[in-house]
Symmetry: C2
Subunit: 152 residues, 2 copies
Amino acid sequence: MASTTGPATRADLLAGLDGEFTVLVRRIRRVIRQQAREVHPDLQIASYLLLAWLANNGPQRGSTVAEQLGIDKGAISRQAQHLEELGLLSRSADPDDGRAMLLAASDGAVARLARMRDERRRTLDERLGDWSEADLASLVSLLGRYNHALEV
Amino acid sequence: MASTTGPATRADLLAGLDGEFTVLVRRIRRVIRQQAREVHPDLQIASYLLLAWLANNGPQRGSTVAEQLGIDKGAISRQAQHLEELGLLSRSADPDDGRAMLLAASDGAVARLARMRDERRRTLDERLGDWSEADLASLVSLLGRYNHALEV
DNA sequence: GGAATATAGTTGTCATTGACAACCTTATAG
DNA sequence: CTATAAGGTTGTCAATGACAACTATATTCC
């Protein structure tokens, strides 16, 4: 599949998109699992994603995270517990809302994430060595637009 | 995040890639779940991915599929059983190898997948209405290269 | 102010998923 | 013709997130 080199129709292109994502979804999972382990050996993949998101987006309420990542608030609650036990996340009361808890990646976690990311970037850079920066920028931009388009 | 509009460094771009994929992985899961249900109400998401892959790639051995999709052969075996019970897949002995089984999407499954895909493509086409075909082609191509680069 | 309703989190329960390992069967090497 | 490898199946287990019930705090409306 995927190697239709001719002038593709829009339908073909959308089909190709599906195909690539089918492979990608599974493949990325393995890559992420590896990354998670590098941050902390006991770090579960789902918790890692939450942690990375928090590190990027700053302290957030659980409900906000649940909404943004599109997963159940119960799952967030448990993942936050897990991360707290590992010392990678802190939960503090939201001063603006007595019901809410602010979730924040710990300084240690941010540091580990940064270290892991540098490593990972080197690897990725090797593997994507033949990519121009324009290619990279293009993929990031297109993925962003695609993500946006998939929003409910 | 993600909306760094300035001239980004390579490191920034790779970081952006991570960010987009973090969101994408979770988001796509929901979309795929919906698709799976449209093909068959009892169709599980993992089995759906297997089925779609078979429909695209033609009959394949279980071990080949496991290798290609990067998941355990035991999982493939059970997913194939599940699909067979739903009448969406057939297992036949490989004439070239007495140990192997050829997995193939049934005609009915292919038809349903095609129907669902047309629908889905309409939706996607609406949402990606402002995308040029060049954009689409670019994303497909870049994802393909990225997938390839991630191969072990 | 006070009842009704909505929202934030936590927890229990459950089905899905895939990793790992043990095992059986068939191929292939020597 | 053994010995070893490869393809599949099955048992077992932990991770994951959906759903629902429940507590506590906010907000609305009278």
